[in-house]
C-alpha cells in the first residue's frame, strides 16, 4: 500500500518534470544554439583566423587582439562609444527627469501627452534616421529653414566631423527621451504620499523634500534607466549606419558599427569577434553593477 502510493508519486513527479521540459525546452534550446554557444564560439573566434569562403579556421593566439589595439583608429572608436554613451545617458535621464517632474501633476491631456511622448520609442530606427537626415539637410532641411528664417547659416551637420556626433546624439535622445519620461512619471507616482505629508508637517522646504524624498524614491528608476540606456546606446547600429556610416573620417564610428564593418564588409571575422568580446565585456560590467546594486536594494521601501 505504502509502496504503491510512493510509486504513484514518482510517476506524477515524472509527469510534472516532463511537462516542464516540454514547456521550457524550445525557448531554452534556441538560447543554447543562438546565445550561449555563440558567446563561447565568438570568444574562440577572436583567437582564430577564419576564412569565410572555405570555413577553415586556424588558431593564431592574440594576433587579432594585437591588430585591433594597434589600429590607430581604435582609440578614437572607443572614445566615440564613450562620448555617445555618456551624452545619451546624461541627456535622456536629465531631461527625462525634468520633464517627468513637470508633467507629474494634474494636467489636462496628460495621458494623451504621455502616449505622444512614448511614441518615438516604437518607431523604426531606420525610418527615424532617414527623416532626421532630411531635417539636417543643410540646403533644404527643416533646421536650415528655421536658421534661414533667423538669418543664420546651417552647419553641414552630417558631413562636418565637428557636428556629426552631436547630430546622431540628438537623434538618439529624440527617440528615447519620451520613454524615460514615462518611466519617471510612473516612478514618481509610486512614491508614497504620506512621506511628503510627514515632511510637510515637519516643515521641510521644497528643495529638502526633493533631495530627501523624491530623489531617493526615484533612485531605483534612475538606475534602471541608466542600465537600459547604456545597453541600448551600445546597440544603436541603425542610427549610425543610416546617418553617417561611421563618418566623416570615423567621427561617429562606434564599437557596434566597427563590428559590422569588420565582420560583414571586410570579412575579418576574427577581428570582428574581438570587438564582440570587448562589447560583451563592457555590457557585463554594466550588468554586474546592476546586480550588485539590486542586492543592496537602495529604495524607499
Amino acid at each position: 500500500m505504502h509502496i504503491q502510493r510512493l510509486d504513484q508519486r514518482v510517476r506524477r513527479d515524472r509527469r510534472e518534470w516532463l511537462t516542464f521540459i516540454a514547456l521550457v525546452g524550445p525557448n531554452l534550446l534556441l538560447f543554447v544554439i543562438f546565445t550561449y554557444a555563440p558567446l563561447i564560439n565568438n570568444f574562440l573566434l577572436s583567437f582564430s583566423d577564419y576564412k569565410m569562403l572555405t570555413g577553415a579556421r586556424e588558431w593564431i593566439g592574440l594576433q587579432n587582439y594585437r591588430d585591433i589595439f594597434a589600429d590607430s583608429q581604435f582609440g578614437r572608436i572607443f572614445g566615440n562609444t564613450l562620448v555617445f554613451l555618456s551624452a545619451s545617458v546624461g541627456l535622456v535621464i536629465g531631461l527625462g527627469l525634468i520633464t517627468g517632474l513637470l508633467l507629474n501633476q494634474k494636467l489636462r491631456f496628460r495621458n494623451a501627452a504621455r502616449s505622444i511622448l512614448f511614441s518615438p520609442t516604437i518607431l523604426s530606427g531606420v525610418a527615424i534616421s532617414i527623416v532626421w537626415i532630411y531635417i539636417f539637410d543643410p540646403r533644404y532641411g527643416f533646421l536650415y529653414t528655421v536658421l534661414h528664417a533667423l538669418g543664420l547659416s546651417s552647419p553641414n551637420w552630417l558631413t562636418d566631423p565637428k557636428w556629426a556626433m552631436p547630430a546622431v546624439i540628438i537623434v538618439y535622445v529624440w527617440k528615447n527621451l519620451g520613454y524615460a519620461t514615462v518611466i519617471f512619471i510612473a516612478g514618481l507616482q509610486a512614491i508614497p504620499k504620506d512621506l511628503y505629508e510627514a515632511a510637510e508637517v515637519d516643515g521641510a522646504s521644497v528643495w529638502n523634500r526633493f533631495v530627501h524624498i523624491t530623489l531617493p524614491g526615484l533612485s531605483p528608476i534612475i538606475f534602471f534607466l541608466a542600465i537600459t540606456t547604456i545597453l541600448s546606446s551600445f546597440q544603436s547600429f541603425d542610427i549610425i549606419n543610416i546617418m553617417t556610416k561611421g563618418g566623416p573620417i570615423n567621427a561617429t564610428n562606434v564599437l557596434i558599427f566597427r563590428l559590422y564593418e569588420l565582420g560583414f564588409t571586410q570579412f575579418a571575422i576574427g577581428r570582428a569577434a574581438v570587438i564582440g568580446v570587448i562589447l560583451f565585456a563592457l555590457m557585463l560590467i554594466v550588468t554586474l553593477l546592476q546586480v550588485r546594486y539590486l542586492e543592496r536594494k537602495v529604495n524607499y521601501g
Binding site: 511537462t19 525557448n27 550561449y36 554557444a37 520633464t99 511622448l117 532630411y134 508614497p192 523624491t214 546597440q235
Partner: protein, 302 residues
C-alpha cells in the same frame, strides 16, 4: 470569479498614489506656477516630438519644386500623392511588405508562445532546480544579439539558411524579457484559481490555455505588442542574413531607396518612410494606453 480577478490590477497595492492626483513635483498640490510650468513643458515636448513627424508628412506631400526651393516652404501648397506612387514603383515594396509581415508574424508569435509557456512552467510546474533554469534565462537577457551576430551568421550559413525566412526568424525567436514580464504577472495570480482547476481534473496545458492565458491577457498583449514592434523594426540581423532584393524587409528596403535617391528625391524617400512607420503607428494608436501603462508598471516594479 475570473471576471473579478481580471479587474484586479497587480500593480495596485493601495499605497501608491493614483494617476491624476494633484500631487506635483515634491508632494504639494500643484500651484498655479507649477501648472503653468507643466503645460509649458508639455507643449515644448510635444512640439519637439512633432517636428520630425510634421517634416516627414509634409515632405511626402510636397512636390519636388516645393522641396528644392531656394525659399523653403513649411507647408505643401499643392499637396500631392505622386510621391507615394513613385516610391512604390522605385523599389519592390510589395515584396518588402510581404517579407516584413511574414517575419514579424512568425517571429512575434514564436516569442509570445514561448514567453507564455516558459513563464507558466517557471511559476506553476514543479521541477527540481527551477531557479537554475531561471538564472539561465537571466544570462540570456544580458547578451544582446549584436554581440553574437558573427558566430550566429556562421551557424545560419552552415545550415544553409542564409537568405531564407527561417534564417531571419530563428535566431531571434527565443525570448527572455517577455518571459520575465509574464512570470512576474503570473506570480500575482491567486492560487485558489488554479487549485479549482486541478480539482476539476484539468492538466497543465488546459489550465494554462483556459485559465491563465485569459486572466493574464493584458500582460500577454503588452508582450505581444513589444515583440511585434521589435520584429517589424529589426534592421541589423535581416540586413546581414538576407542577400537579395526579394528577401529584404521594409527597413532595409527604405535604407536602400535612400542610398539610391538620397538628397535628390526627398519626397519619394519620405513617402517610403511612411510605408514603414504607418502600420506601427496604427497598432500603437489602438493599444497605446495599456501598453504604456504596462511598460511603466513593469519598470517601477522590476
Amino acid at each position: 470569479m475570473v471576471e473579478r480577478i481580471q479587474r484586479r490590477k497587480p500593480t495596485d497595492d493601495g499605497r501608491r498614489t493614483k494617476a491624476g492626483d494633484a500631487f506635483a513635483v515634491v508632494g504639494r498640490p500643484s500651484s498655479v506656477v507649477a501648472q503653468v510650468a507643466g503645460y509649458t513643458a508639455m507643449a515644448i515636448v510635444i512640439i519637439l516630438i512633432g517636428i520630425p513627424v510634421f517634416w516627414l508628412v509634409m515632405g511626402a506631400l510636397k512636390t519636388n519644386r516645393e522641396i528644392f526651393s531656394a525659399n523653403p516652404q513649411w507647408l505643401p501648397l499643392q499637396p500631392t500623392f505622386d510621391n507615394f506612387v513613385a516610391a512604390w514603383n522605385r523599389a519592390p515594396f510589395g515584396r518588402y511588405y510581404t517579407n516584413s509581415l511574414i517575419t514579424t508574424v512568425l517571429g512575434a508569435s514564436a516569442e509570445v508562445v514561448m514567453a507564455v509557456t516558459t513563464a507558466y512552467a517557471l511559476v506553476f510546474v514543479r521541477f527540481p532546480k527551477r531557479d537554475w533554469v531561471f538564472a539561465l534565462l537571466l544570462i540570456a537577457l544580458m547578451v544582446p544579439e549584436e554581440v553574437v551576430i558573427v558566430p550566429n551568421y556562421l551557424t545560419v550559413a552552415r545550415w544553409g539558411l542564409v537568405n531564407t525566412y527561417a534564417g531571419i526568424v530563428l535566431p531571434g525567436a527565443s525570448i527572455a524579457f517577455g518571459t520575465f514580464l509574464l512570470r512576474q504577472y503570473f506570480r500575482t495570480l491567486p492560487f485558489e484559481l488554479l487549485d479549482a482547476a486541478k480539482v476539476d481534473g484539468a492538466g497543465h496545458i488546459r489550465t494554462m490555455i483556459s485559465i491563465v492565458v485569459p486572466t493574464a491577457l493584458p500582460a500577454i498583449a503588452t508582450t505581444a505588442l513589444l515583440s511585434i514592434v521589435a520584429k517589424w523594426n529589426e534592421y541589423l540581423w535581416p540586413l546581414i542574413v538576407t542577400s537579395t532584393q526579394q528577401m529584404r524587409t521594409l527597413p532595409i528596403g527604405i535604407a536602400w531607396l535612400l542610398d539610391q535617391e538620397g538628397n535628390t528625391e526627398w519626397g519619394v524617400v519620405m513617402a517610403a518612410t511612411l510605408f514603414v512607420v504607418v502600420p506601427v503607428v496604427l497598432v500603437f494608436l489602438y493599444a497605446q494606453r495599456f501598453v504604456v501603462d504596462g511598460i511603466a508598471a513593469g519598470a517601477v516594479k522590476g
